[in-house]
């Protein structure tokens, strides 16, 4: 594997997974409760928090997404291991 994965990597990954989990939950909930203002506010707030966490993660460990949704340094980082099942 290309990079040495330390404690900090797993910590940051988990923080992102935690926020993303709440976002998935709120998303599905809002699909059937579209008028719940509080849930919607929570969702929008977390979108912002998620964006910041993803930025930090990508700064340290490379792009999370392809097709123009993440920046890359030189040389092209997207194809670099580790892939999710390798960590």
């Amino acid at each position: 594997m290309a990079k040495e994965l330390n404690e900090a990597f797993y910590q940051q990954l988990q923080e992102l997974q935690e926020v993303d989990f709440v976002l998935v939950e709120l998303n599905l909930y809002l699909d059937t409760h579209p008028n719940d203002m509080q849930a919607l506010q929570q969702y929008n707030q977390l979108v912002q928090q998620r964006w910041q966490l993803a930025q930090e993660y990508e700064n340290n460990y490379g792009p999370l997404m392809h097709f123009g949704h993440s920046y890359s340094r030189h040389p092209w980082q997207w194809k670099d291991a580790p892939w999710p099942w390798q960590v």
Partner: protein, 189 residues
């Protein structure tokens, strides 16, 4: 379209090499009530379901692919250090001679995945009831999988997936109620 994200939905850890458990887990990979069947079922039903529930089918269908990746990761990690002898011992000899350690869409007994596992009736209530049943069957399968392993790390991932089935079932039940409300509203003149 779909965008891939280079991370798992939830961490997958295993505490030992266990090809036999990997064999059992393929039930949720390419089995009738597995994650592939779930994803393909929901995403295919979207085109003819009322607008009100297209979003839900899209989101749950997409999440199922994240679960498929988690199951694949479990199988990969449980088998990556196994010798051919260990695979044979675990009942994976037939799999090994055909696929080596590659994953394949079949169930725990080696029966290949088929579209006959899933349905799209074009009737929203019929489709959503099938979806609720699918979630309950997947939840039960996860329970039996949790019951037959003593690997607490693996159990942790499986428990997450079991709980997701519970939530999906709940959301599908709410979708049924939304459609019933709409149907009843239309009768009022």
């Amino acid at each position: 379209m779909w965008i891939y994200e280079k991370k798992l939905q939830y961490p997958v850890r295993v505490s030992k090499c266990d090809p036999q458990m990997a064999k059992y887990l393929t039930e949720q990979y390419g089995g009738a009530d597995g994650e592939l069947a779930a994803a393909l079922r929901y995403l295919n039903q979207r085109y003819t379901i009322p607008d009100k529930v297209i979003g839900l089918l899209t989101d749950i269908g997409t999440e199922e692919f994240a679960h498929l990746e988690m199951i694949a990761t479990m199988i990969y990690k449980l088998t990556k250090d196994a010798t051919p002898e260990q695979l044979v011992e675990a009942g994976l000899g037939e799999h090994f001679v055909n696929h080596d350690k590659a994953l394949f869409y079949h169930n725990a007994a080696g029966v290949p995945w088929t579209a006959a596992y899933i349905q799209a009736k074009g009737d929203p209530i019929a489709d959503l009831y099938e979806d609720i049943a699918a979630e309950e069957k997947a939840r039960a399968t996860y329970q039996w999988l949790i019951d037959i392993t003593d690997d607490v790390d693996l159990q942790d991932g499986l428990k997450f997936l079991r709980e997701r089935e519970v939530i999906h079932s709940l959301r599908f039940r709410e979708a049924v109620e939304m459609l019933k409300e709409d149907r009843d509203m239309q009768k009022v003149f």
